[in-house]
Every structure is written in structure tokens, then in C-alpha cells.
């Protein structure tokens, strides 16, 4: 069971992940990334805008999931990424896997989010309470996290 989707509206993490519980696997792992409200000189973050490359996004996410299935014995995978304007405290991305083995579920979930961060065509723009908006800079720590999984 593979669910890969781009979601323009609100994302209910628990509902997205619920399908994984019915696959007969003993181990479910998940990661949810949430738009958070940190503060700097430009004010609080009020929303994160997600731009993406529609012609590439689903193929890129699907390739990540296929790679995870090739590396671990998985029974299912859910990978849903929000697009457009995401108010703070709402989910941006939900990743989950089901397996007979807990290490497979935990590791594949970490793999998918690490690789998504550097390999899927999404770009974040922070909207601040002062009215300004700023593109989020990529972090070298994300490259390091993605690289640790090898080829």
C-alpha cells in the first residue's frame, strides 16, 4: 500500500496514517513536520508558503518511496506533502511506514524525510507578522542528513 500525494488543503496527520494500521504489520513509524512560529526581527512567522514544481513533485516523491521499499521490507508507506499557504501549527508533511520489523519502519521513516528535504522540489517562504515574506535558506545539516544514507 503506497499513498503519495500533494495536498493543497489542511492535512490531518492521524487520518493519513490510519491506513498503515490495517496492513498486518507489527511496527508503524511516522514523522510529521509542522509549520512553527519562531520569532526574529521581522516578527513572528504566521504562515509558511510551499511552492513546488508540479511536473516533478509526485515523480520525485514516488521515486523516494520506491527507494525505501528497495532498502527495507515495508508493507506500506504514506507520504503526503502540503502545498500553498500553511498557517503555523498546521502540518506541512506526513511520512509513515508499516513493517513487520520496527527497525525497518523507524529507519525508512527517517530516510524518507531526510531525502525529501534535499531531493523533492519544494521551497518554503516564511510570512511574518510584520508583513514581510522571506525564502527559507537551505541548511547544510540537511545535506549531511541526506548523504548519510549513501547512494
Amino acid at each position: 500500500m503506497i499513498i503519495v500525494r500533494v495536498e493543497p488543503g489542511p492535512l490531518d496527520a492521524a487520518a493519513e496514517l490510519s491506513v498503515l494500521a490495517e496492513l498486518g504489520g507489527g511496527a508503524l513509524a511516522s514523522f510529521t513536520g509542522i509549520a512553527r512560529s519562531d520569532t526574529n526581527d521581522h516578527g513572528n512567522v504566521t504562515a509558511i508558503e510551499l511552492e513546488h514544481y508540479p511536473a516533478m513533485t509526485l515523480p520525485a516523491l514516488d521515486a523516494l518511496v520506491q527507494d525505501a521499499f528497495a532498502r527495507w521490507p515495508l508493507l506500506g508507506c504514506v507520504l503526503v506533502h502540503r502545498t500553498g499557504l500553511v498557517p503555523v501549527n498546521q502540518a506541512i508533511v506526513v511520512v509513515g511506514t508499516a513493517s513487520l520489523h520496527r527497525a525497518a519502519a523507524l529507519e525508512s521513516t527517517a530516510f524518507l524525510i531526510d531525502r525529501l528535504k534535499t531531493g523533492a522540489p519544494f521551497w518554503k517562504k516564511e510570512h511574518r507578522s510584520g508583513g514581510s515574506a522571506h525564502w527559507v535558506e537551505a541548511r547544510s545539516s540537511d545535506d549531511a542528513a541526506a548523504d548519510k544514507w549513501g547512494q
Binding site: Y53, I113, G119, P121, F122, W123, W135
Partner: protein
């Protein structure tokens, strides 16, 4: 060839995408970028920091030295920040 821009590069160039007819000797992504830079200050500013340019050919991530042979669409964008 169709070129598409995303995020800060899209905003700096002021276009989502455009049709570009590069000469036959533009064999790699780097050659195409050189032709875009030759168009003037808007492109030069948008594409100034080469270390922060990323590319895709027909929806697959590619590096600057990749041959463009036959590709329909070149995408130019900053490092991705999703997730």
C-alpha cells in the same frame, strides 16, 4: 527548450518560465546558464550565486555539467527546502 524558474529565482527573473532557443553548441546545463547570463543584469543578478543554483532536466535533478541532449524542460531553482 522550455525553461522554468522557481522560488527566489522565479521572483528575481520575474517569470515562471519561458521558451529559450539555445545554439546547437550549448551542450550542457552550464552552457545554457552562460547564455542566460549574457542576456543582462536581471539574469546576472538572479543567477549570480552559482553555488546556490540547482537544476532539473525533464523533472530529474541534474548537475551543471549534465548534457541537455534531447531534454524538453530545464528547471532552475535554489536548493530545495521542503519537508
Amino acid at each position: 527548450m522550455h525553461i522554468v524558474y522557481f522560488a527566489s529565482i522565479r521572483e528575481a527573473i520575474g517569470l515562471d518560465g519561458e521558451q529559450a532557443d539555445f545554439p546547437e553548441n550549448a551542450a550542457t546545463i552550464a552552457n545554457c546558464v552562460a547564455h542566460l547570463l549574457a542576456r543582462g543584469s536581471v539574469y546576472q543578478a538572479a543567477l549570480a550565486d552559482r553555488s546556490k543554483l540547482r537544476f532539473a532536466l525533464d523533472g530529474h535533478m541534474a548537475t551543471e555539467d549534465a548534457p541537455i541532449s534531447g531534454a524538453q524542460e530545464l528547471a532552475i531553482f535554489p536548493p530545495v527546502t521542503g519537508g
